[in-house]
């Protein structure tokens, strides 16, 4: 596994000069690409915190260690860094499509993660299932581990976004959350999920497989929910007549809910080239199809 798998030259060349932007705390940062009060690798000391794997050993407060034998890291006021939390939906529904949605999400997260690290942000990778457990990636030096982690992501859970958010709420609110998901939950669940981002800057990258938007196999068949294995027999007649509109309505509902909750909604399909999605995301246009 190497980063080339997730990074394409074309993407990097096109993304040159573009930055992941923290919208809500804009204007408060002193230096760097963001104006932020979040703590990081600045010059002014802010506080001590417990050492975690991946922290630079040069930041360890050796004096404190000498007094207490505890490894603590000196957290200094960051002059332009943010914590970038990349959340990948690894539910079974993502394992679908000729161009696999999960694969697409991973590639997308890999690219955006690289860009985040490149602009000196701290990148944190999470999956909905919480597996594998992945430490933050504060610098390019250890970023190789990030790709190892990405490679380990497999579809292995049913969608439980709210539970995932509970874990998320335990984190600092001074982060930017980017969710890579197909958002195929029950409507109530999806809206609850989106409203739970209150106070947190979040972007939803809605990944859709082409086969979901346009059903091509219109013969009569049992349709199975990949997560619950529930079956339904639905006539091609109904699919032909109502599905496209239902899907479109669902996309619009989702977009409105994201916007209402202060998030950024980006829609993309698995047939869209990664660089295009990334570029659209970074320029804030989104891929609205």
């Amino acid at each position: 596994m190497n980063e080339q798998l997730y990074l394409e030259e074309e993407i990097l060349s096109k993304a040159k000069g573009l930055y992941i932007e923290a919208r809500k705390i804009k204007g408060e940062l002193l230096t760097g690409h963001h104006k932020s009060k979040i703590k990081g690798k600045g010059t002014d000391f802010a506080e001590l915190r417990e050492y975690t794997s991946g922290d630079d050993i040069r930041d360890i407060d050796w004096k404190f260690y000498g007094r207490s034998e505890k490894l603590m890291v000196k957290v200094k006021e960051d002059k332009g860094r943010i914590d970038l939390l990349l959340c990948i939906d690894d539910s079974y529904s993502m394992d679908f499509g000729k161009n696999n949605k999960l694969e697409y999400a991973i590639r997308l997260a890999g690219t955006i993660g690289y860009l985040g690290v490149s602009q000196a942000d701290r990148v944190i990778l999470k999956t909905f299932s919480g597996f594998p457990e992945i430490p933050p990636f504060p610098s390019k030096e250890v970023f190789f581990n990030f790709y190892i982690a990405l490679a380990m992501i497999k579809p292995n859970c049913s969608t439980k976004p709210v539970k995932f958010l509970k874990d998320l709420n335990a984190l600092s609110k001074n982060i930017k959350v980017i969710v890579f998901s197909d958002m195929l939950y029950e409507e109530k669940l999806a809206l609850e999920f989106l409203s739970s981002f209150e106070g947190v800057e979040f972007d939803i990258i809605h990944i859709i497989a082409d086969e979901e938007r346009e059903i091509t196999e219109l013969e009569q068949a049992f349709f199975i929910d990949p997560e619950s294995n529930e079956k339904i027999l639905i006539e091609p007649y109904l699919l032909n007549k109502y599905y496209r509109k239902a899907f479109s309505d669902w996309e619009n509902t989702l977009e409105e809910a994201v916007n209402e909750n202060g998030g950024l909604y980006i829609r993309t399909t698995t047939s869209t080239p990664i660089y295009e999605t990334v570029t659209n995301y970074l320029t804030g246009l989104g891929t609205k199809r």
Binding site: F96, E212, E219, Q220, A221, I224, D225, E230, A246
Partner: protein, 577 residues
């Protein structure tokens, strides 16, 4: 109206069965936007049920309407008035009579054309064959000729009346013998093409040969002067005589003559004026006469069994091998298949046929132009050459003496009547010819069948009408002559003397079923219809005018059903969209 279409009514249940059982697909598709599908299903399931119910109803309607269309159902005010006009042309032999310089038959055709021109949807039939009226496709262009067969008004009418015509025109020559006493329905109009004229006709009623003299018994239905000619292989006499009712003409006759042929002429109907008899003994002939002709006889059955008996190694038949028969059950078991179920008879028939074929002896098959006969001919490798027109034969064969079938080793002499009454069949390779008589010829005789082999006979009262019956009688006599080893002792044709129409001798025994009969008295007649009505009953309410009527078909439901079938098909396709 095609009632058979209604047999398909049970198929109406098919859409219901399909609807109830439904088709469970084998295919399973994993599909992440499952929630959307569930939502669609919840929202539209009632709509879907209603649509499916509508589809079911529409499909049943389509089937039902299609069946109605195929049935040609019509609803009229009068159930008897269904469709069109049927025109029957009497093409029987008697219409050959000349009225002035034109045959009555030609006048009939002209009347038929006149009705056709004034009537829509009329169909023309000729009744030459009493069993099956023959439809004439295009009388305006087609050359229609009378045929040398009898016509039977009753049977023809019965057959055509079942076809559902609102009116039927029966164009005939005014000779009422064929339909006298028969009560036609009111929709039957009888048109007399001869306009009430009565044509005097004479015929040879019988011939009595005694040493040195031949007595010709002539009969007529009026006063007429006829020329007669008696010709034998060694003499020839001609003369004229005035004829009223019955007259006997005596002519010297050489005792050593091989044959004698008699002809009269001078009356209006020339075709029934011939008589032939061979006095001297011929070589022994084996004659097989098979009955294929009357309608009650299952032709194919006989063809089937004849093939069986001709097949080496299959001498016996088991009863369960019987093919479906059109005959009544009791008759079939008792009579018709007697020879089929009796092994000695099977052997006998087989030997006879084989022997006849090997010795190039003629096999007379008393049969009509039917499938059974054709099958036999095919089986025997015989090519049917076809029917020759009488007129052309007359041109070709102006004299009495006609060499015929010289394959036999000695020259056979036939009267031209025979020739024109026969289908000429051409033997393939060296197989002996088969002679096909016209369908349903009467075969009425009483003979000592000492060494003759008469396997079965055909006789049908309907066919035994004047004047055609006497044409066959000599032929039958001839057949019998050939059948006898010791010559003719007594031969009497089937005329009882009770007028021209009653032709069955009182002492002739008959059966209601065709088949093979071996009686002690050697009386062999079969297939008479015991329910035959008296011909002497006066004609009832027949009308004699041309009265073309408008076609009345009633309300043609089927046409609307066809229209609605189309509409419902359209509706179905809309529902499926």
């Amino acid at each position: 109206m095609n009632w058979n279409a209604f047999y398909f009514l049970p198929f109406l249940i098919l859409p219901v069965i399909i609807h109830l059982i439904g088709k469970k697909p084998d295919k399973e598709i994993k599909f992440p936007p499952f929630e959307l599908l569930k939502r669609i299903y919840r929202e539209y399931k009632w709509y879907l049920k209603i649509r499916n119910l509508l589809l079911l109803i529409v499909r049943m309607c389509i089937l039902f309407l299609f069946i109605i269309s195929a049935s040609k159902l019509s609803c009229g005010i009068s159930p008897e008035k269904k469709e069109g006009v049927g025109i029957i042309i009497d093409s029987s032999y008697s219409t050959m009579v000349f009225d002035g310089n034109k045959r009555v038959f030609n006048k009939e055709v002209e009347i038929a054309k006149e009705i056709l021109m004034k009537t829509k949807d009329a169909r023309v039939f000729k009744c030459s064959d009493t069993l099956t009226p023959v439809f004439i496709d295009d009388i305006l262009n087609e050359k229609v000729e009378p045929e040398f067969k009898t016509g039977n008004a009753k049977r023809c009418y019965e057959a055509i009346s079942r076809m559902g015509y609102s009116e039927i025109f029966w164009i005939t020559d005014g000779r009422k013998e064929g339909y006298e006493g028969f009560l036609f329905k009111e929709n039957m109009k009888i048109i007399d093409a001869s306009q009430g004229k009565k044509f005097i006709n004479a015929w040879i009623d019988g011939v009595d040969i005694k040493e040195g003299t031949v007595t010709i018994n002539l009969k007529s239905n009026g006063k007429v002067n006829v020329e007669w000619e008696v010709k034998s292989d060694i003499s020839n006499f001609r003369g004229k005589t005035d004829l009223t009712d019955e007259t006997a003409v005596k002519v010297p006759f050489e005792g050593n003559s091989e044959w004698i042929a008699i002809k009269i002429k001078g009356d209006t109907l020339d075709a029934d004026n011939y008589y032939f008899i061979a006095k001297t003994k011929k070589q022994k002939k084996l004659v097989g006469i098979f009955n294929f002709s009357p309608s009650e006889v299952p032709h194919l059955d006989e063809a089937y069994y004849l093939k069986k008996v001709l097949t080496t190694g299959e001498e016996n038949f088991r009863i369960k091998e019987k093919v479906p028969s059109t005959m009544k059950e009791n008759e079939r078991d008792e009579y018709s298949f007697l020879f089929i179920l009796n092994p000695p008879w099977n052997y006998y028939v087989k030997e006879l046929l084989n022997s006849a074929l090997n010795r190039k002896i003629p096999i007379f098959v008393s049969a009509g132009e039917n499938q059974g006969f054709k099958e036999i001919c095919e089986f025997l490798g015989i090519k049917i050459r076809g029917i020759k027109e009488v007129e052309s034969f007359r041109k070709l064969l102006p004299n009495f003496e006609v060499p015929f079938f010289s394959l036999y080793g000695e020259e056979e002499i036939f009267d031209e009547i025979y020739v024109r009454k026969l289908y000429l069949v051409e033997p393939s390779k060296e197989i002996a010819p088969v002679i096909l008589l016209s369908s349903g010829e009467p075969l009425l005789f009483k003979i000592p069948t000492k060494n003759a082999y008469i396997l079965t006979t055909t006789a049908d009262l309907d066919w035994s009408q004047f004047p055609i019956a006497r044409i066959f009688t000599p032929l039958i006599i001839d057949i019998v002559l050939h059948s006898l080893e010791n010559g003719v002792k007594e031969i009497k044709g089937g005329f009882s003397g009770r007028g021209v129409k009653t032709l069955i001798k009182s002492d002739v025994e008959f059966s209601t079923a065709p088949g093979i009969y071996e009686k002690d008295e050697k009386l062999i007649v079969a297939n008479l219809n015991p329910t035959e009505e008296s011909f002497l009953t006066p004609l009832s309410s027949a009308k004699f005018e041309v009265e073309p009527s408008k076609k009345y078909t009633g309300f043609q439901v089927w046409k609307y059903a066809l229209l609605f079938t189309g509409i419902f098909l359209l509706l179905e396709s809309m529902l499926l969209k």
